[in-house]
């Protein structure tokens, strides 16, 4: 119980600090933070299928695009209320999860990666070429934002609060699932499929469930992304973007929620910090990622955890020696 209160307090401090920081920042930093929150939701979703269940998914950009475009079209030409349009994201997620999940049951490894890349490309090409519906390369404009009942959130400032609320909710839900019997079932499938089956776990059902969760998360992230930019076009949803999300997952630490948050933060913020090196910033960023992949293949979070444990042990030993 004490632990829980401490956790809540830590959360409140972090969130307040983030809000204060946001209010004082300029528009550029604000948009980076907004992007970061979207990315966190996305990586948490990707974690279910790629991190825990071990099915390489490179369709994240496609799922994100489906969410963003559905939300965009519903709130512009269809004229729906943004909140109702957001509810439609669950339908999108369920449809994609099943539609992509069933074919992937028979595929593994490279073949699954290729299939998911194919899916993402199909979505991107449709978005580019269905000009009447999606605006083609010109994109969709005047996308409406989620509004609270209290104020019209035309200003980016207030939309940030909504985004933050969704991110916290997404983190809580992900944390709950990862640390429940479902998280264990996902990991069991990743570690040993035959054994999981012999333990009475319905592999097909669980895999599709993980796919569905992942696509619901992605679709919601897509809607929120469309909301804060108020404009989307197909160039944001390339395979390179999907790879970037996988990089976030790998760098932070596969499987754990804090690792996902850390990874999303590093991969979103680091390139921005490196921008002062102008022409070289992307090559610097890629080098850093490569070095990390070689030196800390499990991701940064497990490393941090180990270091903290090691330090604690050292301290305890030292104090014990001091007393003795």
């Amino acid at each position: 119980m004490k632990k829980r209160i401490r956790m809540v307090l830590i959360w409140i401090v972090i969130l307040t600090a983030l809000i204060i920081f946001f209010k004082q920042s300029n528009t550029y930093i604000q948009s980076v933070i907004n992007q970061l929150l979207c990315n966190i939701i996305l990586v948490l979703g990707l974690n279910f299928i790629t991190g825990l269940t071990g099915q390489m998914n490179l369709a994240t950009a496609g799922m994100l695009a489906l969410g963003a475009y559905t939300y965009g079209i519903l709130t512009t030409s269809a004229g729906w209320n943004p909140w109702v349009a957001l509810l439609a994201m669950f339908a999108v997620g369920l449809a994609v999860g099943r539609g992509l999940g069933y074919p992937s049951l028979r595929l593994k490894g490279f073949y699954l990666s290729l299939t998911t890349i194919g899916f993402a490309e199909i979505v991107r090409l449709l978005a580019t070429n269905l000009t009447d519906l999606t605006g083609g390369v010109n994109g969709l404009n005047y996308i409406r934002r989620l509004e609270t009942f209290f104020y019209k959130s035309e200003a980016k400032n207030d939309y940030f609060m909504i985004l933050l609320a969704f991110t916290v909710l997404a983190i809580l839900v992900a944390y709950k699932i990862v640390n429940s019997k479902w998280g264990r079932a996902y990991k069991a499938i990743r570690d040993n499929m035959e054994a999981a089956e012999a333990s009475g776990i319905d592999i097909s059902k669980i895999k599709i469930q993980a796919f569905t969760l992942s696509s619901i998360y992605s679709a919601i992230a897509g809607a929120l992304y469309a909301g804060f930019n108020m404009y989307i076009n197909p160039t944001s949803f390339t395979v390179a973007a999907s790879q970037n999300y996988v990089a976030m997952l790998m760098i932070g630490g596969i499987g754990s929620v804090p690792g996902n948050i850390l990874g999303a933060t590093i991969v979103t913020v680091l390139p921005e910090l490196l921008r002062k090196y102008q022409d070289y910033y992307w090559i610097l960023f890629c080098t850093i990622c490569l070095v990390m992949a070689i030196l800390v293949p499990d991701g940064i979070y497990p490393l941090l955890k180990k270091t903290v444990l090691w330090l604690k042990k050292k301290l305890v030993k030292k104090s014990a020696a001091g007393e003795g």
Partner: protein, 259 residues
């Protein structure tokens, strides 16, 4: 006369032109220790895999009590009440010993994904129930002191035991053991046999495939011997030891002198 828990009726398995199991019929009595032995490549593991639904049978039928398993999927068969361990250890390497065993209990839980998220209290109760049961299982098998170790760091013998604990967690009535004593040293083997006997005494039925004759002859009540996928003998350990065909095919002349 005790009833039959598992029966194979004229089961045949062909891989292309190769007949792996040929017209095999056998019956396992409820609450017994039944061993399936035979030389390498005689079709023992194929038989287990067919019982477990990993391969479909080419012809014939398999029954668990009155339930026909022939066309059921592996996870459904596991839920009927059959647990298994594997010849090559198959554990969830990145998880702790306790979590490994808890996965075995997944099939008995009720809550759906949404339920886990919304019914907080029930979910916590379910989790606690799983954890307590898994701890009891580890205690039973003698692994409670390594419950928080990551499985890939455990020694071979403990991994074997852990697999058994996970199988027990599914509350099976029948446990299929694919070479449980393989790779264990004599003292570990003795410990393992003790545990198997304890499980038997607690009312489970054991069906084991084994190469180690010490283990087979000591604990089984009934032995079926197969060679080239077909049954060549069946009987008590004593009968098997004196069966000339078995000695020729499998045991070797050394076993003639055993009294």
């Amino acid at each position: 006369m005790s009833s039959i828990i598992l029966s194979l009726q004229n089961v045949t398995k062909k891989f292309g032109g190769l007949v792996a199991v040929n017209d095999l019929s056998l019956q396992v009595k409820e609450h017994s220790i039944h061993a399936l032995i035979g030389p390498n490549g005689s079709g023992k593991t194929t038989t287990t895999n067919m019982i477990e639904g990993v391969f479909p049978v080419t012809s014939g039928k398999i029954f668990y009590k009155d339930i026909e398993l022939t066309n059921m999927k592996t996870h459904q068969i596991a839920r009927v009440g059959i647990g298994r361990t594997f010849q090559n250890i198959k554990l969830y390497d990145t998880m702790t010993a306790l979590e490994n065993v808890m996965v075995g209990g997944h099939q008995h839980t009720q809550l759906s994904l949404l339920g886990t998220l919304l019914k907080v209290r029930e979910a916590a109760r379910e989790e606690k129930m799983l954890k307590e049961k898994a701890e009891a299982m580890l205690e039973y098998i003698g692994l409670i002191d390594v419950r928080n170790e990551i499985v890939k760091n455990l020694p071979y013998g403990k991994k074997k035991l852990l697999e058994l604990a996970r199988a027990l967690m599914t509350d099976p009535e029948l446990i299929l053991l694919d070479e449980p004593a393989a790779g264990l040293n004599p003292s570990e083997r003795a410990g393992f046999v003790n545990i198997l006997e304890r499980i038997y005494n607690d009312g489970k039925t054991l069906f084991l495939i084994e190469h180690n004759m010490d283990v087979v002859m000591n604990i089984s009540q009934m032995i079926t011997v197969i060679n080239f996928g077909a049954k060549i003998a069946e009987g008590t350990p004593k009968e098997i030891q004196h069966n000339p065909e078995v000695i020729k095919a499998y045991l070797g002349d050394r076993y003639k002198v055993v009294k």
